[in-house]
Symmetry: C2
Subunit: 219 residues, 2 copies
């Protein structure tokens, strides 16, 4: 058992437990037990539960950034293909380790400092993403829309689908690997259809609500 080994094993177990059951619901004893060590060894590496949470969040954001970056670099130039590649890339770790995106989903329950930390680390990814969407919309290669909202939408959809096989099971959907893959492909088609610039459904430009109201009245 080398120096860093126990530490990384703790991080690993904590990520899975926090991500699947919720941070507040998982005790240090439980994490320690799953690693095969005493709670006090855990507190040796991470002086408090909050420190452990921060470390786990760092792992998560690093992984997310790496995965998305690799997907973007590996894809071709066409924006729909590139988005498609990112979706597939995010799904892969999400299926292998549902806890990963599950942890991002925990953000709403974290205290301020943790949230701020995660926000700072993920902000470059988000701004790059929205800037890219905006540029491609300007070039007419994506449907015109508010890039920030599209990014938020995509995030919510992907994490929603990838992290909720059980919830989906509760609404009558089988959550095996094949089913999840079919769902992913459906999502890819869905996104492709929704973002294609040639979609001939009447679309307003990204409006401030007034347009949406007018459309609702006028249809």
């Amino acid at each position: 058992m080398t120096v860093a080994e126990t530490r990384s094993r703790i991080l690993d177990a904590a990520l899975d437990l926090f991500g699947t059951r919720g941070i507040e619901a998982v005790s240090l004893d439980e994490i320690a037990r799953s690693v095969g060590v005493r709670k006090q060894s855990l507190l040796y590496w991470f002086p408090s539960k909050g420190d452990l949470v921060d470390a786990v969040l760092d792992v998560v954001s690093d992984e997310l950034i790496a995965v998305v970056g690799a997907a973007v670099r590996s894809a071709g130039d066409a924006p729909l293909d590139r988005i498609d590649s990112v979706i597939r890339a995010v799904f892969r770790p999400a299926v292998r380790r549902p806890a990963l995106l599950g942890l991002v989903r925990e953000v709403g329950r974290l205290e301020g400092p943790h949230v701020a930390r995660l926000e700072v680390r993920l902000r470059p990814l988000v701004t790059a993403c929205t800037a890219y969407l905006a540029a491609e919309m300007d070039r007419g290669r994506l449907r015109r829309a508010d890039p920030g909202l599209v990014a938020a939408l995509a995030y919510a959809t992907v994490t929603g689908i990838a992290t909720e096989p059980e919830s989906l099971g509760a609404v009558g959907w089988n959550a095996d690997v094949g089913g999840l893959r079919r769902l992913r492909d459906e999502l890819r088609g869905f996104v492709r259809a929704a973002l294609s610039p040639t979609s001939d459904v009447p679309m307003r430009p990204a409006d401030d609500g007034a347009g949406a109201r007018a459309r609702r009245v006028g249809r």
Copy 2:
């Protein structure tokens, strides 16, 4: 303070706390405190925490069924309008009470009996929904796709967006009411574009993965 009043106030507080912070993370003492009563009064109405959880889940499913039902009945005949109406209807309580959909999202963390209970109560809604989608696809008024997958997709997207203003905030999106409304409208446009039968993006029929692979190779 009438007979049933305390009971319903407990349910109310439990729904909010469970939905926003997670079931396992909320203690009976905390719920009781927020109601302004002692924990033992709470255990008088609900003999155990599990019983309280079941009761809360019943409230949630009743509300969901009522909201969706009303939206469907109030909308016109065109499927895109009807879907639009359901999205707006689900967003309304989700914004007013994020805990509501947050609780549905907790399903993955519940123990078997709770899940089964919720599943049974929601199944009619789900089957009706997929049957409707299938029928409209047959009539050619919706893009051809697997109705079950579309339903799962829509569910994941709506709950994802409606329950994660904080997470979205962490990725740099402002979560005020106006922003959420703009996001909702964006989602409506997104769904409309994706489900419209006239979308001219090359679309396979709901395939088993082989089609998606072929398309990927052939682009």
